[in-house]
């Protein structure tokens, strides 16, 4: 049974009288104890998607359609909940860690107090218990001398340590779902591995499900069970991790995987997908990837393909794949 089911969610930003689709008709489900990875370039809508799940979208953004069904005892559509009810879920049932631990911790509040806050809000014990729990969480995430460092301000910690504190804050109330929005992007490579290991360890200990936003396919290989490939607010391909890496079908997914180091021959130049993710106001009429796709045919530029189940639990959004047309690089492709 799915712990979280996201159905046809649409989040638009209204700027200068124009509706910009940041997340456009996205559906997926998250099983218990599983990790689903959302991958895609910057601007593909991953962060807006997870903020929509948490109902943290502010104006000019608006969730205009969809359901986020959460199985927390009683099945609830989070999007229909009032702010007060949602506050009881945030941090308690569904918690989030963010990309930049430098700016997501309040620089003026001691880290211990910031960890305590979630426990206090969700009434997880008395003052003394809460303090002890916060210290124990600091130890769990690998902060040395937790008792001494409890009163330190975030500025006195390194980036990796701050991300550990963010993780301690997020797991404080033992949430069922942890949303990690590019948790390692702002960190050094050596620290990235430590943080990922920590997340894996905590997932096992706390039996959490994780939604992991990343553009690092190495992280996906390491952590995920299921993968959604996002581009311009749409899911382009959805499959299990093994299927996706062994048999990527969508040209965008293929491109992303080819971009991974170690895919080509040694000393060969790293592959790059040409062009840029278009601004939401410039999304193409047809397939969103058509302007950069080397295989695009006329139909791709005119009509938006549907997300179709090509094989069991393997969904792809591409006419060529759907119709079984071999992918041949088109010399006249209009690459932006």
């Amino acid at each position: 049974m799915a712990l979280l089911e996201v159905k046809n969610i649409k989040t638009y930003f209204y700027l200068d009288g124009e509706a910009l689709p940041a997340v456009d008709d996205v559906s997926f489900s998250l099983e218990e104890d599983q990790t689903i990875a959302m991958i895609g370039e910057s601007g593909s809508g991953k962060s807006v998607l997870v903020l929509s799940i948490m109902k943290l979208i502010d104006q000019p953004g608006k969730i205009i359609h969809g359901e986020v069904l959460y199985e927390g005892g009683v099945k609830t559509d989070l999007l229909t909940l009032k702010e007060r009810a949602m506050q009881k879920i945030r941090g308690n049932e569904i918690a989030m860690i963010y990309q930049d631990p430098m700016s997501t911790l309040n620089p003026l509040i001691p880290v211990g107090k910031q960890i305590e806050e979630a426990l206090i809000i969700h009434k997880k014990g008395k003052k003394k218990e809460v303090k002890e729990k916060a210290m124990s969480l600091m130890k769990d995430v690998g902060i040395p001398d937790a008792e001494k460092r409890y009163k330190d301000l975030p500025g006195m910690f390194s980036g990796g340590m701050r991300q550990r504190i963010m993780i301690a804050m997020a797991i404080a109330c033992n949430p069922k779902i942890l949303i990690a929005d590019e948790p390692t992007t702002a960190l050094d490579v050596t620290i990235q591995a430590e943080i990922l290991e920590l997340l894996k360890k905590l997932q096992e200990e706390h039996k959490m499900s994780i939604i992991l936003n990343t553009h690092d396919l190495g992280v996906v290989k390491d952590m995920a069970h299921e993968v959604c490939v996002m581009y311009c607010g749409k899911i382009m391909e959805k499959a299990s991790k093994d299927t996706l890496f062994q048999n990527p079908l969508n040209p965008y997914t293929k491109g992303l995987i080819e971009c991974m180091p170690g895919q080509g021959a040694p000393k060969e130049k790293l592959h790059a997908i040409e062009g840029y993710v278009p601004h939401p106001s410039d999304f193409p009429k047809g397939c969103r990837f058509s302007t950069r796709c080397p295989y695009a045919v006329e139909k791709c530029h005119k009509t938006l393909p549907d997300l179709v189940e090509i094989e069991p639990n393997h969904f792809v959004r591409c006419f060529l794949v759907e119709e079984g047309i071999p992918l041949i690089k088109h010399p006249s492709t209009n690459i932006l």
């Binding site: 911790l105 309040n106 620089p107």
Partner: protein, 312 residues
């Protein structure tokens, strides 16, 4: 540390220099005899009295204020010192309570105004912007009009009974002057608070706090209040200047005999000798300037030294 001490020293030195300049300027201007004039004669402009006379009057002004001699000068049966003591107490009440009221009203109003998404957001913001954009004399005049209406209709105010719209006989006579003097600063505090909150709410740590389950009020209280107080502290010198400048109008309009009232009276009353009047005015002005600069210095030192954590 040495850098901080040096900065503090520069702050104090800067204020002392500024104060000395302002006091010298005031004494220089108020030392000019009140019947001084310049007229045009035979193709050139001339003063109506010899320059020596003007210069000696200015010197006397400086001397009387700095030696403290002015304190014992009799003006309409009371020494300047006695007038000052009575007036300072009255003005202190108006300024002190006015400031407290401005903060007590301004901060909650700012918190309400910061609700940008609220459908009445613009209307609420206008409530703070209007008092800031109209001349203070108009706001003070409106308060007096309100006081007049309440008094004429025998309406009670906080259960005190109809309060005279002018005068200073009773303790509650200070209510309207306090109200009048606090409106503009309250609007200023409200705007500053609202801006600081809006800015704070857009910070990633405010989003992270929401992600933890914090309500908007909790975020403001726990995460943004230090920043808000720092911003309010930063605008205090401006607020103080606004209050000092409004003091004269408020006291004059409400016939509330504080420092501002007497300063105008020294200059305008035909019963007071012009030279004595201008010297007494200089004395009042000098003390007001000293008090203002001392408070200004206190706030700037507070801002730079006591809250360096917030600043960094």
């Amino acid at each position: 540390m040495a850098k901080k001490k040096r900065k503090l020293l520069y702050t104090i030195l800067g204020h002392v220099l500024l104060l000395a300049t302002v006091v010298a300027g005031v004494l220089l201007l108020t030392g000019i005899p009140m019947n001084f004039d310049i007229f045009y004669e035979k193709g050139s402009y001339r003063p109506n009295m010899p320059w020596d006379h003007i210069w000696s009057s200015i010197k006397q002004n400086f001397s009387m204020v700095f030696t403290g001699e002015i304190r014992y000068v009799d003006v309409l049966g009371e020494t300047v010192q006695e007038i000052f003591q009575g007036a300072a107490k009255k003005s202190g009440i108006v300024l002190g309570f006015g400031m407290v009221l401005a903060v007590l009203v301004g901060i909650p109003k700012g918190i309400m105004d910061s609700r940008k998404r609220d459908q009445h957001g613009t209307f609420k913001m206008l409530q703070s912007l209007i008092p800031l954009s109209v001349p203070d004399v108009l706001t003070i005049g409106l308060i007096q009009l309100l006081a007049l209406t309440l008094f004429k209709n025998g309406m009670t105010f906080f259960g005190i009974g109809p309060i005279e719209f002018k005068g200073d006989q009773f303790w509650y006579s200070a209510i309207y002057p306090i109200l009048a003097i606090s409106i503009l600063p309250a609007a200023y505090v409200a705007r500053t608070t609202a801006t600081a909150i809006e800015e704070g709410l857009s910070k990633p740590y405010a989003l992270a706090a929401r992600g933890k389950g914090c309500s908007r009020m909790r975020i403001i209280k726990n995460h943004l209040m230090k920043n808000v107080l720092y911003e309010v502290l930063s605008v205090f010198p401006t607020i103080l200047a606004l209050m000092f400048s409004s003091l004269i109008i408020v006291e004059r309009l409400f016939y509330y005999r504080g420092l501002g009232y007497h300063m105008i009276n020294f200059y305008t009353s035909s019963r007071i000798d012009p030279i004595l009047g201008s010297t007494a005015f200089s004395y009042f002005m000098t003390i007001l300037a000293v008090v203002y600069f001392l408070i200004l210095l206190l706030f700037n030192v507070l801002k730079d030294v006591v809250v360096p954590k917030v600043k960094s």
